[in-house]
Symmetry: C2
Subunit: 456 residues, 2 copies
């Protein structure tokens, strides 16, 4: 016997149950995106490497899956080229697999700019590929769900994304905390501390305060070259407490002398005020330690954590003022977030929040009682399907035990056994296996059968 086949490490098969669960997540987020006027687009799995390279840093470039040119990829390669693996790879590979949905989206906007009306609201749910070392919870193929609007600086869109997050997790039944930061606050803080070039060091330090404590953070800031004076400016931020309003007020005093900082204060105050008027149900929190994507976000930064399940952030994003600039289209500001489908999958599973029926099991099995009995039930099966029920007929005239077993293994709740006597009487039996409830119907009374299937 041949060796049992396998799939590449870091990739996964999704069977019927997993696929139904994933579809539940995708259809929930898609429906919410639609309710806010976002339209779905799709881009190819393969992009030109020239589109992808240099967009994710050196580490990202290494994690791109490259596709060997078709035809004879090595025709013009001379042996000397083997000395530079990287250059050789670029020579024999012109295409790569999509690494995220952001760069392809930027490419899409620039390429189709004449067909797009701004502000352009789009969402995209597609797999991405990264040649990361596979480990628990980290895959080489995984799915991203991105929702973005480009071509407007209106803070109403920041609000809209918060509303989308709120509605998605309400519908999924997950309690979350929506953490919000603004890069302008961090830039302003670095500025008032007289360390404008140390914004990232400062943010990383803020992020560590809960883990390592105030003294260790201050020590770390010293190690990064910050003066005692700078640290004294930063210290009250490290100790910031209270609700969003009070935190914002404290920050406003600290940042008073920084134009950028005060712009950040204005933005975040306006966003919190919009959030209050929109009636957000989930927890929303100003979190100055959010440093996510600090190299390209220019305004708001978002991150979402599940409250009752220990896992990294399940959603994140922010405002970027120059996403499409990398492809030559300047001044297209955008804001977007990405839902981490794989982590949301794990949270729903861990909290047992999947709906009990995800529609992946048939509703009724019609037992196979022979050729004529099958012909008798066939028209009814069609009519029940037209009513939306998933109906299967057992493929062979097997022993009833085997047919019941099939229903049980496939989680089919109803079985219908009709032989010559039912055909003669013009009746149909339906039985709910788990509850033992059984009823007999006139063969044309599809309405009554539908009611029974829905309620029994």
């Amino acid at each position: 016997m041949a060796q049992k086949p396998s799939i590449p490490k870091g990739t996964r098969d999704f069977g019927p149950v997993e696929t139904a669960r994933r579809n539940y997540i995708f259809s929930t987020v898609s429906e919410v995106f639609r309710l806010f006027g976002y339209a779905q687009i799709e881009t190819p799995a393969m992009e030109n490497l020239s589109t992808l390279l240099g967009k994710y840093g050196d580490e990202g470039d290494k994690l791109l899956f490259k596709i060997l040119n078709s035809g004879d990829a090595f025709a013009d390669i001379d042996p000397g080229m083997l000395e530079d693996s990287n250059a050789l790879a670029m020579k024999v590979c012109e295409k790569g697999l999509r690494y995220d949905l952001t760069v392809p989206f930027a490419r899409f906007v620039v390429q189709h700019q004449n067909d797009i009306h701004f502000p352009f609201k789009r969402f995209q749910i597609q797999p991405v590929w990264r040649a990361d070392r596979p480990q628990k919870g980290r895959y080489r193929e995984f799915c991203q769900c991105d929702v973005d609007v480009v071509g407007s600086r209106s803070l109403l869109y920041e609000l809209e994304l918060v509303q989308i997050v709120d509605m998605v997790f309400e519908r999924l039944g997950i309690d979350v905390c929506i953490k919000i930061n603004n890069r302008k606050l961090l830039a302003g803080l670095a500025e008032v501390a007289g360390a404008a070039d140390k914004m990232i060091d400062i943010t990383v330090a803020i992020d560590k305060i809960d883990k390592i404590g105030l003294e260790a953070v201050k020590e770390e800031l010293r190690g990064k070259g910050l003066t005692e004076e700078a640290i004294s400016v930063i210290e009250p931020v490290l100790l910031l407490k209270g609700d969003n309003e009070s935190k914002t007020a404290q920050m406003s005093r600290i940042l008073a002398s920084s134009e950028t900082g005060m712009k950040g204060i204005a933005e975040i105050s306006e966003l919190f005020s919009l959030i209050a008027s929109a009636g957000i149900r989930q927890k929303v929190e100003l979190d100055l330690s959010l440093a996510r994507g600090l190299n390209y976000y220019t305004g708001a930064i978002f991150e979402v954590k599940a409250l009752d399940f220990e896992i990294g952030s399940i959603c994140g994003g922010g405002r970027y003022d120059d996403l499409t600039g990398i492809f030559g289209l300047k001044d297209v500001s955008g804001v977007g977030i990405s839902f981490g489908a794989d982590r949301i999958y794990d949270v729903l599973l861990g909290l047992d929040k999947y709906p009990s029926s995800l529609g992946n099991a048939p509703d009724v099995l019609f037992a196979n009682m022979g050729r004529e009995a099958v012909a008798y039930v066939m028209p009814l099966c069609n009519r029940l399907r037209e009513k939306g029920f998933s109906v299967v007929i057992f493929p062979d005239e097997s022993k009833l035990g085997k047919q019941f077993d099939y229903a049980a293994r496939n989680s089919i709740p109803f079985i219908s056994i009709n032989a010559d006597s039912e055909a003669a009487a013009g009746t149909i039996n339906l039985k709910n296996l788990a509850r033992g409830v059984q009823q007999t119907f006139a063969k044309d009374d599809v309405e009554a059968m539908s009611d029974f299937l829905r309620k029994a």
Copy 2:
């Protein structure tokens, strides 16, 4: 300015309209598959090349997209290896992109055989990649929709696939002809003609009869080495006329001496009888020229053509008795069909059969009449969204002309303009732009507004 970015040849971007149309096709077929008890699965885009190679013939092997190993793919390559491009490609690439959904499905069944209950009914809708020369209607990335059942030889499943095809095209509003053949008929014919090794030549000849006529076909058969006696056995098949029943009766006389042929007759007669009892609405036709996939189909062969639109087959499949044998699992018979989403897309477009609204435009635009007016409508927007309406608020307090223009460009049918006076009166205006119908509602009367949005 940077060069305008592009995508690899043979690939496509799908904008909002195309994506909505494609989703309409995918959701229609998915729903029908579900009604017949098929469950969705997904497999990774990348498979081990060892899984893919040798399964599609030499030509197919050349059309596989290979993925360069991550890390330093060329580390152990010595210059001599450049002489054999093919061997080198295999050395530096262990993975390839999925070429179809059939081989990954076979691999899935074998790999997960202990978790699967047979008969296993699955469908799969995913892109596949082929390094074909791109041309009109032929892409390097395209989507397949496959539905298969494995682990049973029951002809009820052949019927079920015909029913699925029937329901899908009824729902899509496309009139089709479902052509059916059976490999055993072709094998039997070759046998009674004394040319068992010439089955494919004979089938190809039958396929040409309408295009080149009887004499040319006979000439071609002579060229393939068939004797006059063999040709005289085949000739009545070339001239076969009449309905399915009469054709089957004629074939039955011709194949009387072939056990395989008569098995084919029994299968096809039973299938036509089942089709009659199931009430298929689309045209069904025995077509002995169907040679599709003759190298692996062992029983029924299906092909579907649109009646009112000139394009190749839009759907095809058949019975295979040993799909999983290539991975070491013997005797798992299956039958399946594949829907060609790209061609169905073109047929729907050509026949203007897409629903007028595909749900990709928002339902209502709330004009932005300033900060307070926005706060006034915000709770209502949420309530309308909870009712299922797609609602957008214009991002800025721009001139109304610009806001109307946004509604027009985005095909938004309703606009709602509410300023201080409406807020003071507690009312909401809704206007259908195309029909000029306008109505004023109490701000809490979401039911009446919903009715208006549905009907106006």
